[in-house]
Symmetry: D2
Subunit: 265 residues, 4 copies
């Protein structure tokens, strides 16, 4: 399906503030980006770099006053995402070197503390995709999805105590549970068509059967329309924006995803 995406962040800046941003989708297996805009108002100098996860990141110093980051893109997104119950667990010894870091605990996914719980949740499942399926079902049954309820990210331990969370929080707990049974899992931030309410979204991927699969505990069924803008171990690695210095929250954050008829002229 063809989607028009846009995101607008409006900040009120008090003192010159360094930012890193991650707002540019790239083409990949599941999405092709044909148009993209990236506007800063006022237009301050910006440099780009690729981080250790392959994300395209921007650096700039916002100057005092109102600061707007407005991006948009036209993307062909997958209509359907693969689901492969039965896809087997890949033994740790057979994982590519580059995936090992997705087995380790990270800031918001304290997988070193969830071993027992993950074993209980996935008990009796065929190792691999079905274990992740059991984790997903458990999240949907036990952690209430409450969009917009948190400002700062909360970690898997906190989410498990709270028993509710935003999309990001559910992803964190899902990832921690996967890793604790030796399934590589990573965090994805991006857009989802027809998300209600519309906002930037987060979900997770798990590596089973020799590839990454998409899982989203906030949705009752997995449908198409996902557009990724960043990958990482958790939300600490994949921040739509990171500002350094006194905390700056956006005055406004507006996200739109619109279905279009086909590749635009």
């Amino acid at each position: 399906m063809w989607l028009e995406l846009s995101s607008e962040l409006v900040f009120d800046i008090a003192t010159p503030t360094p930012f890193t941003l991650m707002l540019r989708p790239r083409s990949g297996e599941l999405q092709t980006v044909v148009r993209e805009e990236y506007r800063l108002t006022p237009n301050v100098p910006m440099t780009e770099f690729t981080d250790g996860y392959g994300n395209l990141c921007q650096r700039l110093v916002a100057i005092p006053g109102k600061f707007i980051v407005a991006t948009s893109a036209t993307v062909m997104a997958a209509d359907d995402l693969d689901q492969t119950p039965g896809a087997p667990f890949i033994e740790v010894a057979k994982l590519p070197d580059a995936l090992l870091s997705y087995l380790l605990p990270s800031r918001y996914c304290e997988s070193d503390r969830f071993g027992q719980m993950a074993v209980e949740i996935t008990g009796g499942e065929v190792p691999g995709y079905d274990q992740v399926g059991a984790i997903l079902a458990w999240l949907q049954a036990n952690i209430r999805y409450v969009p917009g309820c948190s400002e700062a990210p909360t970690s898997a331990i906190e989410v498990n105590q709270n028993q509710f969370g935003v999309c990001r929080d559910l992803a964190h707990l899902g990832i921690a549970l996967c890793r604790s049974i030796c399934i590589p899992a990573r965090f994805v931030a991006g857009y989802l068509y027809r998300l209600e309410p519309m906002e930037l979204h987060a979900w997770f991927e798990a590596y089973v059967g020799g590839r990454w699969f998409t899982f989203d505990a906030t949705q009752t069924e997995l449908r198409g329309g996902y557009v990724a803008i960043g990958y990482g171990r958790d939300a600490a690695d994949v921040a739509i924006y990171n500002q350094f210095g006194p905390a700056v929250f956006p005055l406004k954050q507006e996200t739109r995803v619109r279905l279009i008829d086909g590749m635009p002229e």
Copy 2:
């Protein structure tokens, strides 16, 4: 200055042909990209990856028939480029690890064969920027710039024998001469405003005084309006397109660079 850039490549494909492409400018010290389009006709699946030089590359398999790659971008380019006669040579022992590969010979820059010649050309200059300046002056005096004269890249040795070449060829010889006196040098492909005749361009950068400086032997004076789309050791690393299998040459290759009034609405 604000520039509108576009590039169109038209191929006639006989059998399914894998391509890698490098046609997306990124924001950096010298340029800010605010809009970008990337269209394939027909629209085949495409994935992106970042290569070892930080370039954003695309992979696809073109299917038989006419195949068009059309890209465009709106970029704020630097009005002027720094020139710093006297900027000192950086001793090899003090270079960052990541720059050492820019001292080695590469496919089209056989720096291992130019030691004597580079010493003669740069004799008497203060080590550093002024040596590169002498190399540039020597290229302008001795190698005739003939746009459009070659299909396949030629190497520094060949260019030196031919005594003429396209932009790419002059860059290759400049790079080989710099490296042979231990100055890191790299190849850049991109756009140049008001290039005559207009086509995709190539130039080189040399690392002196602790940073990269731009050098272009095809121009009598260094002016603004450069937009880089790829960096590497030479044209083998920085190919606007690489196709694998029987050689496919574009039926048409059209490049445009237009000055605009300011950031578009």
Copy 3:
């Protein structure tokens, strides 16, 4: 000074267990490795890879029974480590891209929760080295160093609550405090000559004045004799060993550091 280092880990393995290990010191600014041994008993196949932090890591699958990893090395270590009170804070906008990840929160260094506390501890100090110095003094005054008191790593938040910890724990809290005031900080695991009691050690480095400096809250004064074996964001990245599957604790872990007369014959 010339040091002979050795480390022996003895495990009792119940089922085939994948391990990653990080036990090979490399030569660097502060140390030159002239001899090294690495023995596994029984001798199972092992591969090596370099992780995202530049550490040399080993992968293997330990088979049931007693499993011994014995390493030793002869290293010339720095006699003294630089201390530069007054070395200035580097503005975030001026940090190299590759250092930005050392400003982010990580598994055991939840720097996103320490902003207020770090400001209080470092209040009045010249930004940079002296702030880190104040953090170090605060750690020494407030967190009791108790070698051998923990099995699993504890995080900065936990250490701050406990008010005591092993070397690793003090490093975690020091790092979290540095990052929360925008000073890049990283975790180091390795050896320290004359550490009492002798065991594998951990400390941290902070980036001020354009380079990394060593800080160790477990020692009353900074002396020479450090040999690093791994760097990372915290102990999750720098694990001497990581085993996957049911937890396996070493039956025995023995570490030795011996001063020798000079480069051995």
Copy 4:
């Protein structure tokens, strides 16, 4: 088999000379390194870094006078190397991103000039392993292996003209031929047990059937006893030593490989 390897390079240095070295074998699929020594006389400061190919490299500045680099290692090397006639060609579209650079021409492997010749040599073979086998047979029949005949590396074009070469030269031509028919190929430097005359050796690997296979045109049959110390696109990337400034040739270069009874005590 267990091997004791040693290499000694003796230089006579006239002025302070920066070197990069690549002399440390690492453990991998085909070899396990259990002991290693690395001595410089005189003992100048040395740092290490991992290059873009994963090789462990050393940097130092040699001071005037006699300079000796002596390394040794104890390694378990594979007794036999896999040969798999019939292993299929992997379509370019299916190659991992990281392998694409092994399809490009490089300094000493001008694969862009060998398309026609490679097609002739491999005509009629099943695409994949058997094509590389035909290239190997062609090299053995047409390029005379003359150990010790060259000082500086020669490129595939030059080797093809000369019709003779050292191990490095044969590898260069083999690699250029493979790449020109879209088979990824890389250069390997290292040791070979029972090589006659004994010296540091070079061979190549080709990627077919989903993995790298070893090929060595200097040997009539492929046997075990190979120990790799560096990988890259060609000898420009994999230099046992690179010195910067006036050329310095070793006064003496001595290599030894000795079979031992088993893992030493």
